[in-house]
């Protein structure tokens, strides 16, 4: 296992103010305390599944490409790209079982794909159409797919972390041999729920995996201004359990770390914190302009270890892929995305009254009255939905 090239994450020189310059290099490969995962040797990504993993990564990246342009065209309202984080997402999700529960943030599109969510269901959410499992209630990328144990995401940073711990406590009580895994970013380590969730997990030794995709940035705040701990992983020791750093571009390292964490959790050995070091290639979201705060050179440098290209090279080296086939797979991915877009865009919008559903299992008197009044306004032509 190799940690991320330190150059990629050492952004402090760019924008940190002199007064608060940290004492030592941050996010270096030489981070002293956190145990690093055993890496490829321990439990490598199953070689037979590597092509599938690659194709999932292609599909995710093709989705990013297409959705960024859909957003620019005003056909979807918003989008959160994940480029640069494909290996971390695919590697971690592939290490879970279907019975496990995933508590995502808003960037985990590739995780949903690995868990078996059809791409078109994802597009339905992005278009907020009437087939959207979440009924057009949320901004794009705030997915939820109960059938795949992919709990619905929310925007407030970190809140899923304590929830994942609570679900793990429930599984403990039911004696279900499963784990819960919370996805979150480097910025989320500053949240209240990170602290509470890590602490509760330590105290109750819950079967929880804390999977932090440290992509170097929380919108415009670089990782080394988020917190002064040399690595994020060593924060786990404050809660009495294991923290490991993995190169998030290394599918084996990610997979191995999660497999190991899962095995320990199922064996009753408690939680694990995994810091997957990656890099956010694109904007934070379509509302963000990274040029305001991030030199392009940093991105160029990071792209030298593009997880998609790394896996491609590996497949090529293993004789499982050549340029022609790669082009064909890319083509197929783009076609799949195009098909899903076409399908989702063609679906009717949500029913104009549907925003009044699901507040409670049964509407209260007041909600019923508000619905009646709105229907009357529609009949009177005052509201034209």
């Amino acid at each position: 296992m190799r940690a991320t090239d330190p150059e990629l994450l050492q952004t402090s020189s760019v924008i940190s103010s002199a007064r608060v310059r940290p004492e030592r290099d941050l996010v270096s490969t030489a981070a002293p305390s956190p145990r690093t995962s055993p890496g490829a040797a321990a439990d490598p990504f199953p070689p037979a599944r590597l092509p599938e993993a690659y194709r999932t990564m292609l599909l995710a990246r093709a989705t990013d490409e297409r959705c960024l342009s859909l957003q620019r065209q005003g056909r979807i309202g918003f989008y959160v790209p994940l480029s640069g984080q494909e290996a971390a997402q695919v590697g971690s999700a592939a290490a879970l079982e279907p019975v496990d529960w995933v508590f995502p943030a808003y960037r985990e599109l590739a995780v949903a794909l690995v868990r078996g969510v059809p791409l078109v269901a994802i597009l339905d959410q992005l278009f907020a159409n009437s087939r959207d499992r979440t009924k057009g209630r949320q901004m794009p990328n705030h997915f939820g797919f109960r059938d795949q144990n992919f709990v619905v995401a929310s925007s407030p940073i970190g809140t899923q972390i304590t929830q994942a711990v609570g679900a793990a406590m429930a599984a403990q009580r039911r004696k279900d041999p499963i784990v819960t895994l919370a996805y979150f970013g480097d910025g989320a380590t500053s949240s209240n729920d990170f602290h509470a969730g890590m602490n509760f997990a330590g105290v109750y030794r819950t079967p929880t995996i804390f999977f932090c995709q440290n992509n170097g940035w929380a919108i415009s705040l670089p990782r080394d201004r988020q917190t002064m701990s040399p690595t994020l992983a060593e924060k786990a020791s404050a809660y009495g359990f294991r923290g490991v750093v993995v190169d998030g571009n290394d599918l084996d390292a990610v997979y191995g770390a999660v497999r190991e964490a899962r095995a320990r959790a199922i064996a009753g050995d408690g939680p694990t914190f995994i810091e997957a070091q990656v890099y956010r290639f694109g904007a934070h979201s379509t509302s963000d302009d990274p040029k305001r705060y991030r030199p392009e050179a940093l991105v160029e440098a990071a792209k030298r270890r593009d997880p998609v290209r790394l896996l491609r090279d590996r497949l090529v080296a293993a004789g499982l892929l050549d340029d022609a086939r790669d082009a064909q797979w890319w083509e197929a991915s783009r076609a799949e995305v195009a098909k899903a877009v076409e399908s989702a865009e063609g679906v009717a919008p949500v029913d104009p009254m549907s925003f009044l559903d699901d507040v409670f299992a049964t509407p209260t008197y007041r909600l019923q009255a508000e619905r009646d009044a709105l229907e009357q306004l529609v009949r009177d032509g005052v509201v034209k939905p």
Partner: protein
């Protein structure tokens, strides 16, 4: 039927719910061996074990966040917040998550957590052991807000809360935890949400109150009966869902309304009752709607008796309302 105090009724309700359903788990600070700082969970850890009566670290964020996770997974967690005043570290989980899970998931993830917490003044608790912030929660779509004022209701509403499908904030008037006793039905006694309790019928004015404001309101009504004023007292007990029909019908009958609560006046729950009546019972109203409430100050320690509405202030407000208009 067994005679119990209000806090004993809560304890009994928890006991019966846990006995009936292994999915019911309690979590909170000092609720285990210690039995809760008000003894609401007394004996339950001994009876059901510390993995069903879970003492947590000092983090309300953690308590509500993990309770949500448990509920998503299928348990029926009942979280205790030691004092309502200490719920604010969990406010994000309550407002952003608990209240919105069913909604934002398009109905895929109901999230049924009961949060029990003692609230209100009258125990010399000062700023941080006396607050009545029910209006914050009533203003949050997706939460039910329940306030019992009798032992029977405490048990009956709590059992309903634990079997409900939605999140419930269950506010226990700590001031009358022990001072109010009453007959509590044994067994699976449930009091439905959304139904106000008619405490006392009357014809000259309607008074709407809840929680620890019920005893002084009843005292006021008795005093006024002696003066020939007939007061209807309605215990709202279920703020969300609200029994709007009962509120409106009462004022249609009496033509006069007074709302009583401990919370500060501005934007308190009394404002909602006033607004409801100004919309839906306007033509029945014969006089201005009076609010008898706490003041727009933090809750004071030494002067809580001046701060809190009492029978005299309530009676005075009713009297003025009846005389005017």
């Amino acid at each position: 039927m067994t005679e119990r105090t209000l806090v004993q009724a809560v304890n009994r309700g928890l006991f019966e719910a846990m006995q009936a359903d292994p999915d019911v788990v309690l979590l909170g600070e000092d609720i285990g061996v210690n039995g809760g700082v008000f003894r609401a969970t007394e004996g339950l850890a001994q009876q059901f074990g510390t993995d069903r009566v879970v003492d947590t670290p000092l983090s309300e964020t953690g308590i509500v966040g993990t309770a949500i996770g448990m509920a998503l997974y299928g348990l029926k967690p009942v979280a205790e917040i030691q004092f309502l005043d200490f719920i604010y570290p969990a406010f994000d989980q309550i407002v952003s998550e608990l209240a919105k899970f069913r909604y934002r998931s398009g109905g895929q993830y109901p999230c049924h957590v009961v949060i029990r917490t003692p609230y209100g003044g009258g125990i010399k608790g000062g700023l941080y052991h006396s607050q009545s912030s029910e209006a914050y929660f009533a203003h949050t779509p997706g939460l039910k807000v329940i306030v019992p004022s009798t032992p029977a209701d405490a048990k009956g509403l709590l059992l309903t809360a634990i079997q409900d499908e939605d999140p419930v904030l269950f506010l226990e008037p700590k001031r009358i935890y022990r001072s109010v006793t009453g007959e509590v039905p044994d067994g699976d006694h449930r009091v439905p949400f959304g139904v106000a309790r008619l405490v006392r019928e009357g014809t000259d004015a309607s008074v709407f109150a809840y929680g620890a404001m019920i005893p002084p309101t009843v005292d006021a009504a008795e005093t006024l009966a002696g003066e020939g004023i007939s007061v209807e007292v309605i215990d709202l007990r279920s703020l969300v869902p609200l029994d709007e029909a009962a509120v409106v019908a009462s004022v249609e009958k009496t033509g006069r309304a007074v709302v009583v609560h401990e919370a500060p006046r501005t934007c308190g729950f009394g404002a909602e009752i006033s607004a409801l009546l100004a919309e839906r019972a306007f033509y029945s109203l014969k006089a201005p709607i009076a609010r008898v409430t706490g003041f727009d100050t933090p809750f004071p320690y030494a002067l809580e008796n001046v701060y809190l509405p009492d029978a005299a202030r309530i009676a005075h407000a009713i009297r003025s309302t009846v005389r005017s208009g």
